[in-house]
Symmetry: C2
Subunit: 247 residues, 2 copies
DNA sequence: TGCCTTTGTGTCAAAAGTACACTTTGCGAA
DNA sequence: TTCGCAAAGTGTACTTTTGACACAAAGGCA
């Protein structure tokens, strides 16, 4: 193929995933360490990979998620496309690409996705694109490789917006959970405190959680009732969302 | 450059724009007719173009918008990336690409944007990528080239969501406008009726419109007061948005 | 038995939402 | 000149939602 004019430029497409998890106390993101390269300080990055020829974008993101976590068929939502020509401008990122990629100067556009998973369902696996993976507290993420910090921030903002229009938690919590855990989850996504009684009242009105006949055991305080999501109502609400500017 | 493995596939990146306008009565989208090709029935499409090497994604979308409408420096928001390998599967789309593109089988990923413009500010220009352009009623759009219909639907959904969290109208209406026009605008975006008195009350409480000392003239009914946006408050609200699930 | 920790619950006042109908203004036609 | 038409503009009563706030109950442990 011949490059005839400036329209005819080709690009690589990659996908990066912001995988959120919840440890019952704080929100975390699954980050990887890139393959080590001599002379390049280690830096954390979002898991991601170039997409294959026969894949669509969603499939590529699903593959990255599966390879890293083993999880399949779960909620994955697009954050957007990121693709500055100067996306790779940190010297260490350049060095890393030169060591690892065959065509280190090729322009790359990445399509980012985010997802919410239950941290306890599996152990992160090292994979073809990651030396190791670990759950990092959202509040501790200050710098990432390439433009991944910007992507992470967009994903977090999307998650915060989502909480106002859709139920959240189904994928982040185990099957049975306590109201405090749900409460904590909302607080850690939003980053501020929520009144306990008001939270409970609002949540119950949504009709998506229901009480089980089971209590916590062995805790040195009043044991909490367990709850589960009512999947049917949850899905209905996911679908129609809840408006409230209110027209 | 050599293609060594399936990761190394290159793609074309294009951008497509969903340009919304408002004719004081209904919502419209600026669509183009593709360059005519012998044997391919005309079909409308979103304006768009392949991106240039030195451009980032936002710049490319801005360029398409400017070339078509002359408008610059206005709100453009990303809808997302679309890129099925089978994106181009209608026979007429294939024929068209074969006639027009040098490499008609190259896989194309498109990054879509939407924007809101005041229809009266300019005349759409034919341009390098469009034989002609015209404003089509949102309700009349039933079929578009490639996957543009899907893109259009995503953009419209984004616009509807936006209306619940941010003020809308600044770019869609002229500098002075009547309350009914604003009201109609909201109704045509949302696709349903809104109570006149309640709409006015809510809108006024936002504090983003203010009454001018000027009335409509020459209308065969009670003349309407003109209003304008209070740009300062509008921008503040744009920035912080309004939540209302209410945590 | 007393202490510590977390759960779980109710009320009241303020704000917001919803539903609803009649008067006003200006033009134009009879 | 007056009558009719069409759209503008305005208020109220009722219901629902929000937001602020404090204390008793349960269970482990020392």
């Amino acid at each position: 193929m011949q490059i005839k004019n400036k329209h005819q430029i080709n690009h690589r497409i990659s996908t990066d995933c912001v995988i959120f998890g919840f440890d019952f106390n704080q929100l975390r993101v699954l980050l990887i360490e890139r393959q080590p390269v001599e002379g390049v300080p280690q830096m954390m990055a979002l898991p991601g990979d170039l997409i294959f020829e026969e894949e669509n974008l969603d499939m590529a993101a699903g593959r990255v998620l599966k390879e890293l976590t083993g999880l399949e068929d779960i909620f994955l939502e697009q954050v957007g496309a990121f693709g500055d020509p100067n996306r790779v401008n940190k010297p260490n990122d350049k060095k890393w690409l030169q060591a690892v990629r065959q065509d280190p100067d090729a322009r790359v556009i990445t399509v980012a996705y985010y997802t919410l998973v239950n941290m306890n369902d599996y152990e992160p696996q090292p994979s073809s694109f990651a030396k190791s993976a670990s759950w990092i507290l959202v509040d501790d993420i200050t710098e990432l490789a390439f433009d991944h910090f910007e992507i992470f921030q967009s994903a977090l903002k999307k998650l915060k917006d989502k909480i106002n229009t859709q139920p959240i938690g189904f994928n982040l919590l185990p099957e049975k959970f306590t109201f405090s855990q749900l409460h904590k989850l909302y607080e850690s996504i939003l980053g501020n405190e929520l009144d306990k009684r008001n939270f409970r009242r609002k949540m119950l009105k949504l009709n998506i959680v229901e009480s089980l006949d089971e209590k916590q055991e062995g805790v040195p305080h009043k044991p909490s009732q367990y709850f589960k999501f009512n999947e049917e109502n949850y899905l209905i609400l996911l679908d129609k969302g809840f408006n409230n500017f209110g027209f």
